[in-house]
Symmetry: C2
Subunit: 331 residues, 2 copies
């Protein structure tokens, strides 16, 4: 079916667009001729150009855009920001039909579908769960004012992140560690606590990727200036505070769509308990310790009925490990 | 391909034959005409008949067995036990060709392939990992003298089997609990410790299945005679001892192929530490407690390098939970 193929194409473009559209939405667009042939497509990459996805596709299609169909992952904006509204570019290009997958919940930019209809363009809204999923970080930010916070955890089968003597490298296998590099590259920022910075001295730069997410270290302990995290490879922000509201407000002000939390059990659990972890991605190695440090520390839950509820989004093998992905539904 | 289809058919028969062949191997067999059509098939069900799988298939094929091909999951036995050797039945039926998937490691019954060849029958050994897998409990028993011990664990994402106030019902969802019923039905015996018997008062009868595995309770505590586990629905064996060697020797004497261990952390960990857990099946619910009882207790491991190594055999969604299956490789 035409729309399935078009949405699959947009999904792969959107994956490539993760983290490079921030603070704007991660949008992809494609233009098809009346007989269904792909003319041009693109995604918003703010690191390369201010052009939105629709404009990139229209520029690629040139005069072939006239009478063509534009398929786009998000409702086109009707708002003048860094660039003029996409609706005007669509009208000017004489596109005949627009199909969009997700409605724009942003009150400043929404209403694009109506603007296009008023200009005589046929507009269709066909929802796609996949295209909503790949835009979920920005959608979450627009709705909550806070970035999507994903806590990445690597544990043994018995959920330990370190043995009782504190040894913790390497719990998971090479394929899981590679996967984490991609996760970093798809995030706008990576957050750790001062304790992790001091104990592990991580670099946090995604190996094998050109992306350079902002590194954020939060906490009251002094982190030596010689630590790797302070090198010049990416911007590093030190938040010398234990206040989670202050941290979240800073992250909101920065405009990040997605923050990857690579905190240890204490800081990660504090974020989880405060309702600021939206998703958990767990890499679980086929190892048993029978003791050591739990990935999550005391949440004040003493009886099973009071458990923190998650929703399993996906599970797959990752080399010799299991990768599972959860949405946090709350206490 | 003929052999792939034949092996797939044998695999499904072998699944149905789990636990009903004990103490004999779980064997399935099928007879095909020279043009590859299925004539007859069956699996060894000792609860219904002493006939081995080969004999069931031969009886089903009657005179059509003459000149036909027998495909069988295990090398046919050359040994007179409860029944005469299968090799003789195959020779008498004038089968022309035998294809078997797994060699018989049992010194008493092995050598069947050679006997058949000497009788002028064409014999081919085509190995199948799937058909070896479904017979692994009996193969393990023949090689080690002990049943295959599978520890079934149901935990939260943070590997807890109970909250700090000891509440533990229900951690996993309805689909995982259904799956456990099948696992019980495929096992010859179900083993728990006296503590689980006293605290949980489980019935251990597989709901929705006709199988009635033996219930074994091991430990020194007194279990009330009124407990469900002592009802007449299945045989129940009380092993009033904390000696794991004594327990394993009893299980070996019973001739069980597969024992499902549904013990709690203390007894389960003792079996694991003593090298008597061969596989772990874990049902992990999308719940977080942040404290409570770990599924595995202290194994005396203090540093990561000394971890107990497992091998991930399979992972799948089970309703809202994750089911993962591991082979224990050892400390």
């Amino acid at each position: 079916m035409f729309i399935d193929d078009a949405f699959a194409h947009l999904y792969s473009l959107s994956l490539a667009g993760l983290a490079v559209s921030t603070p704007n939405p991660n949008v992809s667009a494609a233009i098809y001729s009346p007989d269904g042939a792909l003319i041009a497509s693109g995604f918003h990459n703010r690191k390369l150009s201010p052009d939105h996805a629709e404009v990139i596709a229209i520029k690629g299609a040139q005069s072939l855009a006239r009478g063509a169909t534009l398929v786009v992952s998000l409702e086109p904006c009707a708002h003048t920001g860094t660039t003029p509204p996409c609706t005007q570019a669509i009208i000017d290009a004489e596109i005949s039909k627009v199909i969009y997958a997700v409605s724009d919940p942003n009150p400043i930019a929404a209403g694009g579908a109506q603007v296009l209809k008023s200009a005589g363009i046929e507009v269709e809204h066909i929802h796609s769960a996949e295209l909503e999923y790949v835009q979920r970080a920005w959608l979450h930010k627009v709705q909550s004012g806070k970035p999507l916070m994903i806590w990445k955890v690597a544990t043994t089968l018995d959920a330990k992140v370190a043995a009782s003597d504190s040894t913790s490298q390497w719990i998971t296998g090479p394929q899981s560690r590679e996967d984490v590099q991609l996760l970093r590259a798809q995030s706008d920022a990576i957050l750790i606590g001062t304790n992790t910075a001091i104990v592990d001295n991580p670099h946090l730069i995604p190996r094998g990727h050109s992306a350079r997410p902002v590194r954020i270290i939060c906490g009251e302990q002094d982190v030596p200036a010689s630590n790797q995290v302070f090198d010049k490879e990416a911007r590093t922000v030190l938040v010398k505070s234990k206040s989670i509201p202050d941290l979240m407000s800073m992250l909101g002000d920065e405009g990040f769509n997605q923050v990857l939390v690579e905190a240890g059990p204490t800081f990660g659990s504090a974020l989880l308990a405060s309702g600021n972890i939206d998703e958990i991605i767990m890499y679980q190695a086929p190892k048993v310790l029978g003791g050591g440090k739990d990935f999550v520390s005391n949440l004040g839950i003493s009886t099973l009925d009071d458990h923190l509820e998650l929703q399993l989004l996906s599970v797959e093998r990752c080399g010799s490990d299991i990768k599972s992905h959860y949405a946090v539904k709350g206490l």
